[in-house]
């Protein structure tokens, strides 16, 4: 079904504009048109459908649910809800304080916040359409692992010692009670929505998300297209060698100063992989671009001391590198033919 976008791009680029498929420019423009039309179509359709389904999900209920899990499951559910909950990064601080003041351990809250920018419906749709289901699953596993392991390490270091005073006090107040969990009767019921209300929510959500990300699609695909057309195939493999150990940390540090969301970076990943960059190195680069962002750290500074921020930063970087090395080691078995 999706081949219609390939035909559209072929017709526009080669027939209408008269470019040749063998030139770099022709190849880059073909890639750009095919990917932008395909991605925008899929995004509009899927964001709407997913928003219909999750119209009744709210954070108070998510919080109560996580509170009722034991520690280990807590990290997993924290990370999983970070992936599926619709969530704008400007709500990070209220969410952080809402969780903390309800006695949820710092590591579990951070598992939510680490995973949130990495995995969302937009990222999954784009990965699936550009790189296939195997890679999509690898990305989801890696994204959740970064969140879960990051949260566990943070608690192992007892990171809550380094919260700002008011946040630490709110956490202590909650945990001083034997049972800090929200009483069952205080948990709001899932709202019963009519189809009409769901449609209204989905329409607003669609407008909001597409309005926010459409330019990232163009920037990301544009960069991907430039790489695609102007960098020879297997350039990375030939020039960097395939998978010296230092490639991974180099990719992580290269990704740090770049600040993008997942939408902008995924089309670039596609091109990097085609050009011979190992999958683990590419993932490490992507995670570093998306999950360790400067604006996010500036926001968290409101509730954390510098020491805690530095710890979080170090944990994230270490996680990205370990993920990169592991995936590079196992990728020959996982991604034959990618």
């Amino acid at each position: 079904m999706l081949s219609i976008f390939t035909h559209l791009a072929t017709w526009l680029t080669y027939d209408l504009m008269g470019l040749s498929p063998t030139t770099r420019l022709g190849s880059a423009i073909h890639f750009f048109i095919e990917d932008t039309t395909k991605i925008l179509f899929l995004l509009v359709a899927m964001i709407y459908v997913i928003a219909l389904a999750r119209a009744s999900l709210n954070l108070e209920r998510v919080r109560a649910y996580i509170q009722r899990k034991n520690r280990l499951l807590g990290y997993m559910f924290g990370s999983a809800f970070g992936a599926i909950t619709p969530f704008c990064s400007c709500s990070s601080i209220p969410l952080f304080l809402g969780f903390t003041s309800a006695g949820i351990p710092l590591g579990i809250t951070m598992a939510f916040l680490f995973t949130s920018p990495i995995i969302n419906e937009v990222a999954v749709i784009m990965l699936w359409s550009l790189l296939g289901w195997k890679f999509t699953i690898a990305y989801i596993v890696v994204g959740m692992a970064v969140g879960i392991v990051g949260g566990m390490l943070l608690d192992a270091f007892r990171g809550e010692r380094w919260l700002k005073d008011f946040a630490a006090k709110a956490y202590q107040n909650a945990t001083r009670n034997n049972d800090p969990r929200t009483p069952l009767e205080d948990i709001p019921e899932a709202p019963k929505l009519t189809l009409r209300e769901r449609h209204h929510f989905a329409k607003e959500e669609l407008k909001e998300i597409v309005g926010r990300i459409w330019k990232w699609v163009f920037i990301g695909v544009g960069l991907g297209a430039a790489l695609h057309g102007f960098v020879p195939d297997n350039w990375f493999a030939e020039n960097l060698g395939s998978g010296q150990w230092w490639n991974v940390p180099a990719a992580v540090f290269a990704g740090l100063p770049l600040y993008s969301n997942a939408t902008g970076v995924i089309p670039v990943m596609e091109s990097l992989i085609i050009k011979g960059l190992p999958v683990g190195t590419t993932l490490a680069f992507c995670m570093s671009t998306v999950a360790a962002s400067f604006p996010e750290f500036v926001m968290l500074k409101q509730v954390m001391t510098f020491r805690l921020l530095a710890t979080i930063f170090a944990i994230l970087l270490t996680n990205f590198m370990i993920v990169g090395w592991i995936i590079n080691t196992i990728s020959p078995w996982l991604f034959t033919g990618l």
């Binding site: 969530f87 704008c88 400007c90 209220p94 969410l95 304080l97 926001m299």
Partner: protein, 78 residues
């Protein structure tokens, strides 16, 4: 006089929410004081997790989105 607090850490949506409320107040020619609250401690005290949120005279009435015009009118006219 009614005091309306718009709670949020200062994103675009919070600004838009405050503007919408001011506009509605002018339309109804009501005396409404719209205050933007960005202090995380204050937001925590209201137990708000998704912003923008709105409190009218110290009582939380809304959270998580830019409110609809009809909703705003219903808060301002008792």
């Amino acid at each position: 006089m009614t005091t309306v607090e718009v709670l949020g850490t200062g994103c675009k949506k919070c600004v838009k929410t405050a503007e919408k409320i001011s506009a509605a107040a002018t339309e109804l020619s009501l005396d409404v004081d719209v205050i933007k609250v960005t202090d995380p401690v204050k937001i925590m005290e209201y137990q708000v997790m998704s912003t923008p949120a709105v409190a009218v005279d110290g009582k939380l009435v809304h959270s998580g989105s830019i409110p609809e015009h009809d909703q705003i009118i219903s808060w301002l006219t008792p």
